[in-house]
Subunit: 264 residues, 2 copies
Amino acid sequence: MVTIYWAEDGAFPPGDRGLAYGDGLFETIRVDGRSAYLQIYHLDRMARDAERLRIPVDRAELERTLQKALERYSDHYSGNSWVLKLTLTRGSGGRGYRPTPELQPNLLVSHAAMPPLPPVTGVVADFSRVPLTVNPLFSGIKSLNRIEQVMAASELHDGVFEVLMANAAGHIVEGTRTNLFIETEDGWRTPPPDSVAVMGVMRRVVLERLRAKGEIVHEAPVMLDDMFAPSCRGVYLTNSVLGIVPVRTLAEQDLPVTGRLATI
Amino acid sequence: MVTIYWAEDGAFPPGDRGLAYGDGLFETIRVDGRSAYLQIYHLDRMARDAERLRIPVDRAELERTLQKALERYSDHYSGNSWVLKLTLTRGSGGRGYRPTPELQPNLLVSHAAMPPLPPVTGVVADFSRVPLTVNPLFSGIKSLNRIEQVMAASELHDGVFEVLMANAAGHIVEGTRTNLFIETEDGWRTPPPDSVAVMGVMRRVVLERLRAKGEIVHEAPVMLDDMFAPSCRGVYLTNSVLGIVPVRTLAEQDLPVTGRLATI
């Protein structure tokens, strides 16, 4: 049984393990009017990640809370788009790090205005000085352990939409809040699942659409040189709230922008 | 200026970044009566880690809050030992991961009873199946990003005091809540600072005391074989609340226990 907290009530339990250890998960979901965009994909991911972290939660319970949140908040935005956030934690208490069997999850619900959308003509991106470290057991999980993304995002400044992060092997893996796709002569490429810190919902959508259109897609490492090679036809960042964002300038070098991924 | 929250008031801000991203730090401090054990070391670490994460906090402010907490809670424990916890976060708000300049830190204060102390005759330990990943930029920081330790600690069961975690290079680095020391024919060894997830306060104390006694100490990687070699005279775990804990059985193999480190 999950305990639900509404952010506007202003109080969350101080003993919660999400706060203590980042022991939980979150989803930020774009809502258009009363319709949660990619709702099933978001619920899929939260339910799957909860299982991987052994946080006992029922997908139907998440879905009911999401529906209640849509009813509760939609009128604030009078038909405009907004962002719904669900934060699921393992609950309050336990003795130190070790989770105890009686823990009951907490689910915090909050909402925010839509961020400004990036221009369809493309954005400016750079490389982060913060290396990305991904634990192979927990790759892709949208957990509350996001210090690396916070510190990388603190490098962002006006005019730079995103910084890309590399792992110890030198592979360019993802942005702070985006997954990475490139189009090459040999088809599409995106870093493999076991390398990513967050397995984006929009990454899944793009992969499915590309495959449905008969496009060739490889889940394989992306190296720095791959993005600047003449064979590279475009670099894209994906995010479920912001959509598919072409990169027109990367580390002060211009890249080709065709917008082909957005069309597909 | 830090905003202080007392856990017994039962409410913490739902928009706090400690909860959202693990964007913060914590200290658990043993208190004997009204005296905070290793107080200076704990304050040193929190102030240093805050600087590394660029959380603007004044060490004197942390110290004043610690003093207030000692006055506030000590009577509950009528002279017995207890544990004080300070959780410092970057504050509430900001737009996504990116910290904004106007953020003001939150400081949550809570207390708990002393955990049972392990027997001086030594404890049983094992190896964790969870690999340890440490970002070189953030090694040693006692941040709120502790999913790996939570998942490793969930492997603990009755009679096993601790599980030791190895990094991708196969070095045995630390336990979920302890640092590691071994005594060999060539002196003492503990894994180097850039390899540890948490740079324990007790690790610092032990290093200082060993050096003051003229003992030879190496901050160097510890391999599995080092602990089971005939040259190994003892394996110890350190924690500022629990002290110095000899390991008598590791992965079902008996180890020599001399208790020499506790004597020093």
